[in-house]
């Protein structure tokens, strides 16, 4: 589904990704782990063309998408949920979802609304509330809902558990698994919260110092002892 070959990315003179190669299977949840500064977010941003790739290629279903403009990536079905400010705070819930809908027709928008409200009923209830009035968990639901309006085939999540309580973290991961199961969407999740995330993952990658140091199923990763490196580098 997604294939990355020898990807290198720099911030100024600093080389962050030093030749990352990986392959992602369709309809799977993939975890990208690693210590701080290993380049996890940079890898997601490179896929979504938010940073300049200096070398290497990225293929999506066989098509070269390296350096492709955002609106074209979205039309291919690739979406990105960033960390930090994940919603348009001064827009209502429904307006946030409409931003995700892009150029869809009215009927298509209605269908997408039903789909999103089906997964997150609370968003229907709060559809006329401003996003800044939502709780942390609801904010994350709205961000995922907005991305689902884009009919994605691949979603890149950058630390979706950031700032959430343990109970909400479990809920978010449950949602990610649910999205994969119901809509066949492939997910790449950058995450620190390994215990919760390995339970829902199909596959994991450990990124250390700009290179993939290990990859395998969650069981492989746990039994290999490689997981310690995520904390120690």
């Amino acid at each position: 589904m997604l294939k990355i070959e020898n990807l290198k990315t720099n911030y100024g003179d600093l080389e962050v990704l030093k030749g990352v190669s990986l392959e992602i299977a369709p309809k799977s949840v993939n975890i990208l782990m690693g210590p701080n500064g290993a380049g996890k977010t940079t890898l997601l941003k490179s896929i979504f063309n938010l940073v300049d790739v200096t070398q290497g290629r990225i293929y999506f279903n066989g098509q070269d998408i390296t350096g492709m403009p955002t609106h074209r990536l979205l039309s291919f079905g690739i979406s990105y949920v960033p960390q930090g400010k994940i919603n348009f705070d001064s827009l209502t819930v429904e307006e946030n979802l409409l931003i995700g809908a892009g150029k869809k027709s009215r009927e298509e928008v209605e269908r997408s609304f039903e789909r999103v409200y089906g997964i997150f009923p609370i968003l229907r209830e709060k559809r006329n509330d401003y996003a800044y009035n939502l709780s942390g968990g609801q904010q994350q639901q709205l961000a995922i809902g907005r991305v689902l309006m884009q009919d994605p085939r691949l979603i890149l999540f950058d630390e979706p558990s950031l700032g959430l309580s343990p109970k909400l973290v479990r809920e978010v991961f449950h949602t990610i698994k649910d999205i994969k199961d119901r809509f066949g969407v492939t997910c790449i999740v950058v995450e620190h919260n390994l215990k919760s995330v390995l339970k829902i993952a199909d596959y994991g990658f450990i990124l250390i110092n700009g290179l993939i140091s290990y990859h395998g199923t969650p069981d492989d990763i746990i039994s290999s002892g490689e997981i310690k490196k995520v904390f120690t580098g």
């Binding site: 955002t70 609106h71 979205l74 990105y80 960033p82 348009f88 827009l91 307006e95 931003i99 892009g102």
Partner: protein
């Protein structure tokens, strides 16, 4: 009572003019995140283009206004496309863009001076009529017209921003430019749209002001200072806020010069500007955010 009402009338007239300048400035600031100080000169350009079409060429006043509206919107777009955008693409900071905007203002002012000269001009379109007396306070029909047009325009802008798709996209970009980009919104398109809409409002402001006052090449500087102050008072990121802030400024200024010599009018504006920048930099209606 009559005095209070008169202060209120004068304040509303000044406020509606400031607000017309402030909304365009605020719109451009909120989407592009830089101070387009040349916006005041664009107002002056609007006033002078109308003078050129109406007084010099002799086209019908209303047709002249339509021509002015289109020309000024186009000039606003060209400023964005050929001055600000290339600099932004090269990663220029907002400070650089601010200096550029002051440069543009000087260029436009001097261009007006070169073409039209330094003499004070007037459209002489409406004959000066006696004011209407309301409970002892005087207001001219033109002044009522200015207030009415401004209020109608603000309502129109409000509904455009609230209900239209483009309005929603403009609000999204002003709320979170990075997320807007990730969501597939074309920032260049939104910036162009805010320059076109903002400049169109500036041209209307220019013509209305010139109906009430005289035209001078440097009229834009004073207007942008007042418009900017109004925007800061209300909250520069919020369009309704900058409208309210401008009316507030107009009323306070006029109340102030009731007690102080009228030469202090601009000083009052500056004192209010400083007070807000020090104590309430986000303004009265500063946009609420979760993390603030």
């Amino acid at each position: 009572m009559a005095i209070l009402l008169q202060i209120l009338f004068n304040g509303l007239i000044a406020g509606s003019i400031y607000a017309l300048v402030a909304v365009g400035f605020s719109l451009i600031y909120s989407t592009g995140r830089f101070m387009h100080f040349a916006h005041g000169a664009v107002v002056a350009l609007g006033a002078y283009l109308q003078y050129w079409f109406f007084n010099l060429i002799g086209i019908n006043f209303y047709l002249s206004f339509i021509l002015t509206l289109f020309s000024v919107s186009l000039i606003g777009y060209l400023m964005h496309r050929f001055v600000y955008k290339p600099l932004k693409d090269r990663g220029s900071s907002s400070a650089v863009l601010l200096i550029v905007s002051v440069g543009l203002m000087i260029v436009i002012e001097n261009f007006i001076l070169l073409i039209f000269g330094a003499n004070v001009k007037s459209y002489s379109f409406l004959e000066i009529r006696k004011g209407i007396e309301i409970a002892g306070a005087l207001i001219t029909p033109l002044q009522i017209f200015i207030i009415a047009i401004s209020v109608a325009l603000f309502l129109l802008l409000y509904f455009f921003m609230k209900k239209s798709k483009l309005g929603r996209i403009i609000r999204a970009v002003s709320d979170n430019p990075e997320l807007a980009r990730i969501s597939g919104i074309n920032a260049h398109f939104v910036h162009s749209a805010s320059f076109i809409i903002g400049s169109a409002m500036a041209s209307l402001a220019g013509v209305l002001i010139a109906l009430e006052q005289n035209l001078e090449p440097t009229m834009g500087l004073n207007l942008i200072v007042k418009g900017f102050t109004g925007a800061v008072i209300g909250g520069i990121m919020s369009i309704p806020g900058s409208i309210a802030g401008s009316f507030f400024l107009g009323i306070v200024e006029n109340a102030g010069i009731w007690y102080l010599p009228s030469g202090y009018k601009d000083a009052i504006a500056f004192v209010i500007l400083f007070l807000f920048l020090i104590f309430k930099p986000k303004g009265i209606f500063g946009v609420k955010k979760r993390d603030e």
